[in-house]
């Protein structure tokens, strides 16, 4: 089946006027095992594209943005010691690897005919297999769990949970705030992108405030009672930022259900908080492009076969990264990238009529407390006996409590190495 279909699609493609533009220049078409289209050039999609090229598969990657700004390390910009340029990556590295990069918005996925339409382009792009890696979108609805928060509100109360202009906006607001001001952060319930991210953000905003506006405070209003690396974060806050960060758990009344951008006020089940700067991280779902093929069904995220990341709903479409439900793997850039590697290997095998091998994946997430204080969480992932993605028992875990300052400094250095090596592997 696979073989027949891919031949038919190659013939179909050969008839298309835009064939030349789809072929990576200077690469032999003879080795190609099929055409893969990747939607989204973040950690998941760009890694999948790079690794598919390593396996000599023709790849077209579609992304709506002129470049990629990563959420990982964007908190260093808010902390005042990182630059946007350090978290911004062009598509040049992928192009050098032979990936055809199309800058545009996907307007249709025809899962029957196996082709993708990019807004404004008349000729659809045919695929043998499609990899969808769109990250997250926000659940903006007036009747939703966070009433009043929408795209317009985000201009007053930035989310900065998709990095870029939102990160810059939040940074400008922090700079404009007077000493003694209050920063309110609204943090969602699970699942959401980057479980430790809000708490790293609080830490690095505190770093900036401690340095520049030491009388200021940060209030975290949380829709949960526990969070990632909690003991490590709380010990660090006490040691490094005493009295500056107040965490209000769900049980303590931290659940925000309504916001008023005009007055920078947020309302919880029990009262209200007014901030000078308000950072709202809203509830999330898979990137909306998955709706074009119904990949999430009525759920927020997409069910996949954990061996290949192929959609449980639609054959020949693979969903990776934040948009999928990956068992014990958290929604992180590192997870997405490891999933991209496994998916590329599986897709290349499937295109060649071979059985994919068992996946093995890692997640490593570093968080910075300040430039010299890093903490980490890690896990090794396999398919468990129940067929889901598990964390290998008795492995992984958090940095130790009560580690030396030298240990924390080493982890901060490794955090920088982790980001640089990963970004280079993916977009370099």
């Amino acid at each position: 089946m696979i073989r027949t279909n891919s031949r038919r699609d190659v013939l179909k493609l050969a008839g298309a006027a835009s064939l030349a533009s789809l072929m990576p220049s200077g690469k032999s078409f003879a080795q190609a095992a099929g055409n893969v289209v990747v939607i989204g050039g973040g950690f998941g999609g760009a890694t999948a594209a790079k690794y598919l090229r390593k396996l000599s598969v023709n790849v077209t990657l579609i992304d709506a943005s002129p470049n990629l700004v990563t959420c990982p390390f964007s908190n260093t910009v808010l902390g005042g010691f990182g630059e946007m340029a350090q978290v911004t990556h062009s598509w040049d590295g992928l192009r050098r690897a032979g990936v055809t990069v199309v800058n545009g918005t996907v307007s249709a996925i025809d899962a029957q005919a196996k082709r993708v339409t990019v807004q404004g382009n008349t000729t659809p792009i045919a695929y043998d297999r499609l990899v969808v890696s769109p990250g997250i979108d926000f659940k903006f609805t007036d009747a939703g769990s966070l009433m009043g928060y929408n795209e317009a509100a985000a201009e007053r109360m930035p989310h900065a949970w998709k990095a870029g202009t939102q990160t810059e906006l939040l940074r400008r607001q922090l700079i404009a705030m007077d000493d003694g001001g209050v920063v309110v952060m609204v943090i969602p319930n699970n699942p959401y992108r980057c479980p430790p991210g809000p708490y790293e953000r609080a830490s690095l905003i505190a770093h900036y405030l401690k340095t520049s506006k030491p009388r200021s405070k940060i209030i975290l209003l949380d829709a949960k009672d526990t969070f990632s690396k909690q003991a490590l974060f709380q010990a660090a806050w006490q040691a490094v930022y005493p009295g500056m960060i107040e965490w209000v758990s769900f049980s303590q009344g931290g659940n925000v259900n309504r916001v008023d951008p005009a007055t920078l006020t947020v309302y919880t089940d029990f009262g209200m908080h007014k901030g000078n700067v308000v950072n709202v991280i809203p509830p999330q779902r898979a990137g909306r492009v998955v709706d074009l093929a119904g990949l999430a069904g009525t759920a927020d995220f997409c069910q996949i076969n954990p061996q290949t990341f192929e959609s449980r709903v639609t054959p020949n479409i693979h969903v990776i990264g934040d948009a999928c439900v990956a068992g014990a793997m958290p929604k992180s850039g590192f997870s997405a990238s490891n999933q991209g590697k496994v998916t590329a290997t599986a897709v290349a095998a499937l295109l060649r009529g071979q059985q994919p091998t068992a996946p093995s994946m890692i997640n490593v997430c570093y968080s910075l407390i300040n430039p010299d204080y890093g903490i980490s969480v890690s896990s090794v992932h396999r398919i468990g006996d129940d067929g889901t993605i598990i964390a290998v028992p008795n492995s992984g875990g958090n940095s130790p409590a009560n580690a030396s300052a030298d240990f924390r400094k080493q982890e901060a250095d490794y955090a920088r190495g982790w980001y640089a090596a990963m970004a280079n592997e993916i977009w370099g």
């Binding site: 996946p359 093995s360 492995s395 992984g396 875990g397 490794y414 190495g417 990963m422």
Partner: protein, 117 residues
């Protein structure tokens, strides 16, 4: 240390692990309905995870403190990983990650990275 040597090493490993680029027409696909037992994770699949921090082909990345892990004797790499796993040598994250691999997988990873010059 020529790039040709690197290529041939890589090809050797791809050939050994069965993820090589097929030079001929692919074999017919297995019936979609069957759910055959998975082949165990190949050295390449295991090693791909390491590259995220240790750089492409484990060669590190200039300007960072995460060490390169390629081109060292397999025995040495294997011994280091196993001592991390057993907490005989205490470092930062590798004590936790090494525990996620069997000794056989560690040997196979060591062989993989030792062969990349």
């Amino acid at each position: 240390m020529t790039s040709r040597a690197i290529c041939s090493t890589a090809l050797l490993f791809f050939a050994l692990t069965g993820t090589a680029v097929a030079q001929q027409a692919p074999a017919p696909a297995a019936p979609a309905a069957a759910a055959p037992a998975m082949a165990p994770a190949s050295p390449v699949v295991l090693a791909n995870s390491c590259a995220s921090c240790h750089g492409v082909d484990g060669k590190g990345f200039a300007g960072t403190k995460v060490p390169a892990i390629n081109g060292r004797p397999a025995q040495e790499l294997s011994t280091i990983m196993k001592s991390f796993k057993a907490d005989q040598v205490t470092v930062t994250i590798m004590n936790r990650l090494a525990k996620g691999y069997t000794d056989a997988e560690i040997d196979s990873l060591a062989g993989y990275f030792a062969a990349i010059r």
